[in-house]
């Protein structure tokens, strides 16, 4: 596991209820969340849900020092026409951000409106997170709800043309502890693309709650930098109404501990949820994708596709669950998690789960880990492709099934280029 020497004396994050925001639209959600954390406690190594990933570095008060790697090529999506919203060490920076002038959505910052009495987000903030506490507690998200002061409040009313790019930059602090809570409501028939990019902070705790109305659509792409020592925990909570569509893709490169939880609740008939990810890491890399999809409606379709490339002692974790509730007939659930282990020191730990209470469903899951296909490698080399190029080609081929989950070809190409860069830097 990534942090090998947990000190028993390590102080854990705690909530001071007197310091909470006690007035305004979010107060009751914060109080509820705070009580939840106080009752349940933050994740502990003995917790079944944290069996493969040690939570201490995420729950301790001290943030480790994390050196920042400047990207040579600037912003990941610099070539796309995006609406830029910049956060520096988790704090919104209006001066570096674009001004949103678009009738298809309303956008505010949590930091600007956290004290007002009434806000549309009052009916959403913390509610999906609260539902996501059962059957498995997710108290780091609860902690986030209680104390968050940064993040976007996005109300999408139509088809948003320009992707909204949340750009997370590092500031001068080596120990920045960033905490963001994004609240997104997408009206019936509306659609938006949200891109999250950049290293966030030395440590990050990000929650995104998304409520999709009938026929609404969210395309979510995330790549949180490549600082090798960074720590991050994130939770996406999504509720899907009928015929809505969620597509979420994460590219994870490097990081001492990255735990991405995605909690999807399909409430309306004929909804589609695709959650996918590609990860590449070496040495101290520990990457955990934990997905929980609940089908509670007819003819829902869900896909979980995760591919991890692990080198030099890196660790990949996947915990994926499909829960089909009684009555959720004609559910089509698919889940695959695969690791390519480029050496014998790396490991992949997977826990695929299906829990089905409806009798007319099609659900499948699979999980594999393996090395580079030696026959394919020799075939490529016999055609003159050098060993390293051939290995990289086969590695990209391995990741292709996950990358294919990205609908937008241009975005997929940008991410593939980023992966190619990562592979080439390691080919020496």
């Amino acid at each position: 596991m990534s942090n090998a020497n947990p000190s028993p004396a390590r102080a854990e994050l705690s909530i001071d209820k007197t310091a909470l925001i006690t007035e305004g639209w979010s107060a009751s959600a914060r109080l509820r969340a705070a009580d939840g954390v106080l009752q349940q406690g933050l994740p502990q190594p003995r917790d079944e849900y944290w069996k493969y990933t040690r939570p201490q570095s995420l729950t301790q008060t001290t943030t480790p020092s994390v050196s920042h790697l400047e990207e040579d090529n600037g912003e990941l999506f610099a070539d796309l026409d995006v609406l830029k919203l910049v956060f520096v060490d988790g704090i919104f920076d209006a001066a570096q951000s674009d001004v949103a002038e678009d009738e298809s959505f309303d956008l505010e910052m949590l930091s600007d409106v956290k004290d007002v009495d009434i806000h549309w987000a009052g009916s959403l903030y913390g509610t999906l997170e609260a539902k996501g506490q059962t059957p498995v507690p997710r108290t780091l998200a609860q902690y986030n709800t209680a104390v968050a002061e940064q993040g976007i409040l996005l109300h999408v009313k139509g088809e948003v043309q320009r992707p909204i790019n949340l750009i997370y930059k590092r500031g001068t602090s080596a120990q920045s502890d960033a905490l963001l809570h994004h609240t997104i409501k997408i009206d019936a028939g509306a659609s938006v693309t949200v891109l999250e990019t950049g290293p966030v902070g030395a440590r990050a705790n990000i929650v995104m709650e998304v409520d999709l109305g009938e026929g609404a659509s969210l395309n979510h792409i995330r790549s949180l930098g490549r600082d090798a020592e960074r720590l991050s925990v994130s939770h996406v909570f999504a509720r899907l109404s009928s015929q809505s569509q969620l597509k979420s893709f994460s590219l994870t490169m490097n990081g001492a501990l990255t735990r991405h939880e995605t909690v999807v609740e399909i409430n309306g008939d004929d909804a589609i949820a695709h959650v996918a990810g590609a990860s590449v890491g070496d040495r101290g890399f520990h990457n955990d994708d934990t997905v929980f999809v609940t089908h509670d409606a007819l003819r829902g379709e869900s896909r979980q596709v995760f591919k991890k490339v692990l080198r030099n002692g890196a660790t990949g974790v996947f915990q994926g669950k499909i829960l089909v509730k009684d009555g959720a007939q004609k559910t089509d659930g698919y889940q695959i998690s695969q690791a390519l282990l480029l050496d014998e020191d790396s490991q992949f730990l997977a826990k695929p789960e299906l829990e089905i209470y409806a009798d007319d469903v099609a659900c499948s899951h699979g999980s594999t880990s393996g090395a580079i296909d030696e026959d394919a490698l020799f075939y490529l080399r016999a055609r003159g492709v050098p060993h390293k190029t051939a290995t990289n080609l086969l590695t990209l081929a391995f990741l292709a099934e996950a990358v294919e989950e990205i609908e937008d070809a241009h975005i997929a190409e940008i991410l593939v280029t980023a992966i190619e860069g990562w592979l080439e830097r390691r080919s020496g």
Partner: protein, 252 residues
Amino acid sequence: MLEIKNLHVKLEEEEKQILKGVDLTVEAGKVHAIMGPNGSGKSTLSYVLSGRDGYEVTDGSASLAGDDILDMEPEERAAAGLFLAFQYPVEIPGVGNMTFLRTAVNAQRKARGQEEMSATEFLKVVRAKAKDLKIDADMLKRPVNVGFSGGEKKRNEILQMAMLEPRMCILDETDSGLDVDAMKLVAQGVNALRDEGRGFLVITHYQRLLDHIKPDVVHIMADGRIIKTGGPELALEVENNGYVDLLEGVAG
């Protein structure tokens, strides 16, 4: 072009000698065929020459146009002009056939200090050569050999050969799994590449491929050695009488 002297090869992981002193010289412009029963070491010879792992050369040498190839990496041998048409072409999901071909062509060019082929030039050349082999555009777009029929895989091997323009081509049982029409098509592809600067070594069980790719020299291999060398008539002898007489002749 290809000069093999007293080549002894054993399996790396067990004490099993496969090649027990192979001597063979393929001149530029010539087509040599190797025939032999199962287990005679024909495929091992092709793998050892192309640099596959798992074999240990215990004695002897092999050189291509004067350069020792046995110490080279597989990709270096390819760049030096050696090509092996695989008996079982490998399926590579996720790698497009076109990407594969372009990467291979340009990697070899780069290794030889030549300029890389531009995307448009490459496309033009590959389309023309694919057409000759009746390989349609769809096959070029699909992942390497994935879902290809036996015949398509072998035609794809010949397309790679045509694109890479090697000096020395080894065909390892290219006729296996082919129907008569597919075999003709493959043979046409090979014959189109016959050239005074290029050598061929055609490994086969059966004479029928040699009806289409006419050899200059035929060798019979058995128990890790070449036991008899002759003209095309030797292949016919095998076709008519099998290997038994030849093997007995040697033993006696």
